[in-house]
Structure formats: structure tokens, C-alpha cells
Symmetry: C2
Subunit: 405 residues, 2 copies
């Protein structure tokens, strides 16, 4: 009987992330670009804004003309014209004069400030300015948002809504992004039936296929379910071989003794390599990582909670690497534990939690449930990590919460 | 000249959220269900698991037979058979005997504990157990995950990866979800050109269309761009009328004086109602909300940052209501300000920030930029809110950070 030789979390991540990322590239339009990863630095071919614009409705002036202006002693300025929004400014703002502008209008030459309409009394061909403006007030100058030739979005950034705004501003209607990594997902085990079937007594429906696929898709993968695998050398060989074209192969299940042996045996028989067999985490210890057909492969534990947590902690970091996304620290919140949590020394433990409270200050309550209880994950709003060198956490401790979704 | 009559944030949200949500429903399969909102409580038609299962590889036993067992004084048990994974247990675990099981195997009748294989020495037809198990150890009992008839996912929940796992477990291959709200998005302003065009001098590309659409889609909307609107009564009337079939209408831009008047005039001319004109927020004051053709309509400010922040703070809460999603508190983190931030009394201010640090404890640095500088949003990782009754925040204050994305 072979027992698992487990590695630490750090050793596991080093092995897993030693996979060289070789993402391909493709062009995409802005409407499809959200969530994609930029494949090369995007430079602004032009300055934004392309001309100095007024930020308010009012009057473009020579700022020093308004010096000392106040309600009881306004500055009188001759109205020399108007710049309508979208038009080229054809008037000049000379000293002693002003030009009517709207929000977004081009600021006429000579003007270096815009008085808001609220601080102006319009008379016949003339205006009274009742408040001074400083040089540059209410103007956004040419190139103040984006300088011509500057990098607006760096390679490796995942595009969010506001990045789309910048891309639109500079006219980058089509951009080069990394292709989504293609992931083959298999479910192994003689006891597994597809969700549409009513499982005969003794069998269960395939849960991991759905949770793992959704986690991967949310992180930018193109996931294909390549099959339910029976627990025979022949079926595992056939289905793994058929998945050889993908960038990453995941086999969930195979958590029973025989299956574990079969999956590792087949990987080696097909010329692959087992790089680790077991990680010191709870839940999720019976995890396999290796290479086959030159591609990374995970054997994920069968228990749904273990499978999901290993996906979150070990598969997603590799997936992000394969998407070409630059590394960034995880987004977490701090919260106060409502109860003690025991933990096993030597294991990094993941504890599902519920979160209550608001305003950046939260109460964190662990959900204690067995690692096969999927409803405990559905109820959880996040999880906390207990490092391997600790034997637990205490009530009222401040802990770091990783949010789900 | 008509000045804006502004309302407070609270008044604005009350008006906006008074819109009755009447989402339609549709059926969806599990592979398309991620991010959709559940339209009716989902009940478990069967218990999960449907039979008591072993959580480990080992031997199913009568727990009290192992009482006091230890390395030097093991309990001897007769091996009476095996339950293979996926099979129905046909053997019985009588006192003094044990049954070989795998992770996920059905626990045979009579057994009330499973000894892990690591604590057993297998002999010929017999095993030595070297550690006691307690009653129920390493077993998940019928219905322990999900009780038959229990609500597994409540109406109004947005489906995440782990919810899919629960749905798969109970065999809910198709579920009833709320239809995505259909949103009509228009961009108004004579100065606006589509992103594909090179703007003539004095004009600018349409930024808001892209940022607003992406923000709405990420929150579950089905967004249709229904047109660039010229600043004439006729064009506004035509394009608004053509958008009357949608669940929500958004007109971005119209931030110049004339356009603002035109949009509000047309809404009223078409029998609609302006419910607010101006909100005491910075940026984003020149916001319009009303009803037209019985549907809610927003006039969003033209400055890209103002438009984005009003979308985040006022449009998305209404959109979530229209998706049928149950209200939930925002997810935020706490962080320490690295510098003072001045603010205007009487306005709720939104300050874009960069976040550094890890581990739930962050440093928060404001990005000071004019409200038309879209690159400042692209760089921001989140924003903080300065309430209307404050005149600013001080360095080293603990603040609540709302994360973008």
C-alpha cells in the first residue's frame, strides 16, 4: 500500500508555477475585451484630450483679468463670441474680453481660465465676473489625461470597465490580447453519473465538473468537459490521450485508492511525470500535479470542498499565469473571529467562513463541515487560511478573509 | 438660465429605488447559470448524500469494537468483505468484523465508523486496528449535506461556482432564473464620435458607452447601444422613442447646458417625468433621473469619471433590483489613508484610490485628478466615500475602500 508523499504549500506552488506560460495572442474588439488580458503595452497614438477643453459651462477668460473680482466689485469683460461644443474655436480671448463656452467646448486661444456661469452676470455684449479664477481653472489641457506616446495599459493587465474607457478615448477599437487558455476537464470515478441522470443507489452526481468549470471560466479559461472517466487503465489512457491538445488538463475525482493509482500510472505510462503527490493542506491533501504531453496536469481530490479549495489555491494561480495576467496580490478584507478554530500543525488549513457587518469591519464566523459538504461552500462568503505552523486561531483575533467571487 | 435643483444621496436613492422590479423569468441550464439570479426557492427533491458514505479509504467497523485499541494492543477484526465505490453495500458489518471501503463507498449496514487504512494492519482474512474511532468518524450520513425538501438556494441569490455544485448535487440540471434586464444605452452630444472614427478637431470619442456598458454587463444586464444622439429636440425624441421597449434607459452625456435642457424637455414632452435633476455628489452632480414610457431613465453626466461613478453608485443599485437580486451589503476592505483629503461640505464625494499592502491591511492613496480624466479611473483599484457632512479626511485615518471589479 503506497501512502502519499506530501509536499508543503510553498514547494507545491514552486513546482506548479515553474510551468512556462506560452499564451497565444489574438485581436479583439472593445465590446468583447472586458476580462481579457492585454498582450502588449498599449501606447496612445494621440494625446487625450486632443485639445484644451472647458470643464464647465461659463466664460473663457484671461485669468488675470478677474483678479480681485467680487460681487460688489465685478470685473467687466467684453463678450467676444461663443465656442459651441464640438466646434473649433474661431474666436480669440484677448485681455479685457471673454468667450461663452459649454462643458467640453474647446478653450479659445488666449484664454487660461473659465469662470462658471454661476459667477457671472450676463449683460448686453458684456459680462460682469463676480469671482476671480486662477490660471488653468476649469480647463483640462491637451494631453493632460493621456500623453501622446505614453503607455495607457501595460502588458499583462486584465481589462476592466475603466480600461475600456481609456482604450475608447485613444481610439484603440481593436486590441491584441492573450488567447484564453484551453482547459480540458475530466471527472473520474465509477460512482459518478452526469447531473441529468438519477444516480442508482451507491452512485452520486458529478459536482466537481460544475464548480471547477465555473471557477476557471471566471478567471478567463476556455473550459471543455472532455469526459467522464471509468476507473480502468484503458478508459483513463483513452480520455487523457484525447485531452492532449489542451493547455491544461484537470482530472477531478480519482480519490479512491485504485483510481489514484490508475491516474498516476497512466500519466507515467504515457511518458508524463508526477511532480507531486499530496500537498500538506486541509482540505485537499490528495492532490496530484505533473506534466503529460508537455502540458501541466492536475489530479484534483474527489471531495467537492477539497476539489474547490485546491482549484482556488493551486489551479487558479497557474491558470492566471497561462492567461498572461501579471501577478497581483489577492484582494482580502480584515475581520474579527467570533470563535476559536482548532487546526492541525503541519497543514495549511482553509476554513470556510460567513461574514457579517459592514463598513470594512467584519465579524468572521467559521462554517464547520466535512470536506464533502458542498452546501457549506455555497453558504460561505469567503475563507481564511491557517498557516501550517499554527495550531489554530482564537476568538477575537483579526484575520484576513479571502472573498469568494 | 436654470440652475440644477439638487437632492441628497439618500433622497436620490429613495426615488431611484422606488422603481418596482418586475423581472421576467426563464429556464437555464447549469453551464449558463453562473451569475444568473435564482427566480424561486430551489428545493432538494432528494437528500444529499443519498446514502451514508465513507470519507476515507479504510475499514468500516462497529466503533465500540475499536475502543482502547492502540499500536501495542490492537483490536482484531474479521474482514467480512468489501464495498467498492459506486456499488451497493451487500455485506453487513457485524460486531467483531469489518468491511474494506474506499473514499465515497457506501457504508455497510451495522458500521458506525471507518478506520483510516493508515491505522490498520491487514492480515490474512483479518485486520489489526491500532487506533480507536468514535461513533460517526469518517462517515457522511444520508442527508447530512442537504436535507430532502430543504431550500438549497433562496430566490434572489446570484449563482456562484459553489451554488452550481449544490444544484448539480441535487440534480437541478435546469433552473428558473430571472431574465436579464434589457438596458438601452445612448450617448448624446454633438461633439461625440464613435471609437472607430478619428475625431475632427474639437470633437472627442465616445468613452462612456464602453465604460457604462461593461459595468452594467458585469452586474447582469443585457445592454444594447441604441445610438449616438445629436443635440436636437428631433433626434433626442426619435432615439428615446425607439428605446421605449427596454427595461431601463440610460443617456450619457448631455452635460452641456443646451443638451441638458433638451433631454429633460423631451422626457416631459413624451409624457415622462423628471424625478430629480442634480444629486449632491462629487463628481456626478448633473445627473437626471425620471420615468418615461413607464420605464426608469437616467441622464448621466458627460465627464467620464462622473459618469462612471454615478453608474456605480446609483445605476447599479437599481439594476440589481431589476435583476431580482436580493440586497446584500457591499464588499469592502479597511485601509489607512496616506494623506489628507479635502472635501466639500454638503456633497458626498467619491475619491479614486490606489491600494498597496497585503493581508487585509492596506495603505490607501488618493488619486487627485479632474473628473474628465479617464486614466485616473483605469489606475484606481477602488474608491472611498466622504460623507456629505464632512469637510475631508485626515492622514492615518482608517477608511472603507470599495474595490473596483
Amino acid at each position: 500500500m503506497e501512502f502519499l508523499k506530501a509536499v508543503t504549500v510553498q514547494q507545491a506552488l514552486e513546482l506548479i508555477l515553474s510551468t512556462p506560460p506560452t499564451p497565444e495572442m489574438e485581436m479583439t474588439g472593445l465590446d468583447e475585451a472586458s476580462g481579457r488580458v492585454v498582450a502588449e503595452d498599449i501606447l496612445a497614438a494621440e494625446a487625450i484630450p486632443g485639445f484644451s477643453r472647458s470643464l464647465v459651462d461659463g466664460y473663457a477668460v484671461v485669468a488675470k483679468d478677474t483678479q480681485g473680482a467680487r460681487e460688489t466689485s465685478p470685473a467687466f469683460l467684453k463678450l467676444s463670441g461663443e465656442v459651441r461644443i464640438g466646434d473649433v474655436a474661431r474666436v480669440h480671448a484677448a485681455e479685457g474680453s471673454c468667450v461663452l463656452v459649454s462643458t467640453g467646448s474647446m478653450v479659445p486661444e488666449g484664454a487660461d481660465g473659465v469662470v462658471m456661469q454661476e459667477y457671472v452676470r450676463a449683460l448686453e455684449g458684456e459680462v460682469e465676473v463676480t469671482r476671480p479664477v486662477y490660471k488653468g481653472e476649469n480647463i483640462i489641457y491637451t494631453g493632460e489625461d493621456v500623453g501622446k506616446g505614453s503607455v495607457v495599459i501595460a502588458r499583462g493587465k486584465r481589462i476592466g470597465p475603466f480600461d475600456l474607457g481609456v482604450l475608447a478615448a485613444i481610439g484603440a477599437a481593436r486590441i491584441k490580447v492573450f488567447s484564453r487558455p484551453r482547459v480540458a476537464l475530466l471527472s473520474s470515478g465509477d460512482e459518478i453519473v452526469p447531473v441529468e441522470e438519477r444516480p442508482p443507489f451507491g452512485k452520486v452526481r458529478d459536482i466537481n465538473r460544475h464548480t471547477v468549470a465555473a471557477l476557471l471560466r471566471a478567471s478567463g479559461a476556455d473550459v471543455t468537459f472532455t469526459g467522464l472517466v471509468r476507473d480502468t487503465i484503458e478508459d483513463i489512457t483513452e480520455k487523457l490521450t484525447a485531452s492532449g491538445e489542451y493547455d491544461l488538463i484537470l482530472v477531478s475525482g480519482g480519490s479512491s485508492k485504485g483510481e489514484r493509482d490508475h491516474v498516476t500510472d497512466v500519466i507515467e505510462k504515457l511518458g508524463g511525470e508526477i511532480m507531486l503527490h499530496g500537498i500538506n493542506v486541509k482540505p485537499g491533501k490528495p492532490t496530484i500535479f505533473g506534466r503529460i504531453f508537455g502540458k501541466p496536469i492536475f489530479g484534483l481530490p474527489g471531495h467537492p470542498v477539497s476539489c474547490a479549495m485546491v482549484t482556488v489555491r493551486f489551479v487558479l494561480p497557474l491558470l492566471r499565469r497561462l492567461t498572461g495576467e501579471a501577478l497581483r496580490p489577492p484582494m482580502t478584507s480584515a475581520g474579527t473571529l467570533t470563535t476559536n478554530i482548532p487546526s492541525s500543525y503541519g497543514f495549511e488549513e482553509y476554513v470556510r467562513v460567513k461574514i457579517s457587518g459592514e463598513g470594512g469591519r467584519y465579524l468572521v464566523t467559521p462554517i464547520f463541515a466535512k470536506s464533502s459538504v458542498i452546501s457549506s461552500l455555497s453558504e460561505a462568503e469567503g475563507y481564511i487560511v491557517i498557516p501550517e505552523g499554527m495550531e489554530g486561531l482564537e476568538k477575537d483575533e483579526l484575520v484576513e478573509v479571502h472573498r469568494f467571487e
